[in-house]
């Protein structure tokens, strides 16, 4: 695969280094001394000095034959512009953007960016997993149709404890895909699977149904 990465900061550099053995990679870096450093470390052919959002630079990079672009700079506005130009002008089939301000995640999806990665959101999800709270932990936003994979821990006083999945009224567009028991063993759920306190349920849900799903699984009777 030919992957063009915008930004050779820590994220872009380590990503490029990981991709180099198996893929053709080109990193576009605006800072000349940083670009030199990347050239020495990964090879001259892996780096290009220039503004990744500039169409002439993109053309020189061979953007029209890129299979994927990854926007890895520390600025969301640059990441968005790079992905939007790559898709709109060079017809790159897949664009992945690093998100720095988690509030931009939904917008980037709405604007057609295929996948987003937000370190803040990922760390938040891990922190939330450690906290006793009645909420859904978002694990993964899926590319299309506004679907998301979430995790929920069943509180011991939840109305669903002791009931089987068949009898649960879940919101439209939500599906329990995995049940992890207290011992940490995962089970593929069936209609007869009985929900136990402290079970972890992994569900696929419509983003709009998130709140209804949370209420259905965690509310007390």
């Amino acid at each position: 695969m030919f992957v063009v990465v915008a930004g050779a900061g820590k994220v872009g550099f380590h990503l490029a280094r990981a991709l180099v053995p198996d893929h053709e990679v080109l990193v576009i870096e605006i800072d000349p001394s940083r670009a030199d450093y990347v050239g020495e470390e990964l090879g001259e052919e892996v780096v290009m000095q220039g503004d990744a959002c500039d169409a002439a630079t993109m053309e020189r990079a061979g953007m029209e034959r890129a299979d994927m672009v990854v926007a890895a700079t520390g600025d969301d506005e640059d990441n968005l512009t790079f992905c939007q130009i790559a898709k709109a002008k060079f017809n790159v089939p897949r664009a992945v953007a690093r998100i720095n301000n988690p509030q931009n995640e939904g917008l980037f999806k709405q604007l057609g960016i295929d996948a987003t990665v937000s370190a803040t959101s990922l760390i938040m999800a891990h922190i939330e997993q450690e906290l006793p709270w009645r909420g859904l932990i978002p694990l993964l936003m899926l590319r299309s149709h506004g679907l998301e994979i979430v995790e929920v821990r069943i509180p011991s006083d939840a109305a669903v404890v002791g009931r089987n999945l068949r009898s649960l009224l879940l919101p439209h567009g939500s599906l329990i895909v995995l049940v992890i028991d207290q011992g940490g063993t995962p089970h593929l759920p069936s209609a007869e699977t009985v929900v136990q306190a402290e079970d972890i349920l992994i569900a696929l849900t419509n983003i709009d149904s998130e709140e209804a799903l949370r209420a259905a699984l965690t509310s007390p009777p």
């Binding site: 959002c53 500039d54 939007q84 301000n101 931009n104 917008l107």
Partner: protein
């Protein structure tokens, strides 16, 4: 109308004054408080210190009730991001954006943003001025 302007450089400040003179309510945002020095002393609109690409900041600046939003910083990418937040998150009806790079401007116009490209406009005005200049 209630108009939010992002970027209080010469362009943003000039625009703010013009809108205010026409009787509109204006809030002007900038990251740098010294940028507000571009405004004349009598300016009555609201000066708001903050990042206009940030959704919380825009909400606090009143984006939910804004009739129009204009991004006029010197950064094309910031202008484009802010304009898209205004349009798609806050559903502001009138959104305008300055994009200096002619190619980027073309891409964003095709993606449905209302854009102004000062580079192209200035170039044609300069050309016109030179061509029409009297020659002895």
């Amino acid at each position: 109308m209630f108009v939010i302007i992002m970027g209080c450089g010469r362009l943003g400040a000039q625009l703010a004054v013009m809108l205010e003179d026409q009787g509109h309510e204006v809030t002007i945002l900038d990251l740098d408080k010294y940028a507000f020095d571009h405004l004349p002393p009598g300016f009555k609109g609201r000066k708001f210190l903050g990042d206009g690409t940030d959704q919380d900041t825009l909400r606090r600046a009143g984006a939910e009730r804004a009739d129009a939003f204009i991004s006029a910083t010197r950064g094309d990418n910031r202008n484009a991001l802010a304009a898209q937040v205004a349009k798609h998150v806050f559903h502001i009806k009138r959104v305008g954006s300055v994009i200096f790079d002619p190619i980027r401007e073309e891409v964003y116009r095709e993606l449905g943003l209302s854009t102004i490209n000062p580079t192209r406009i200035e170039a044609s005005l300069l050309m016109e001025a030179v061509m029409k200049a009297p020659v002895d």
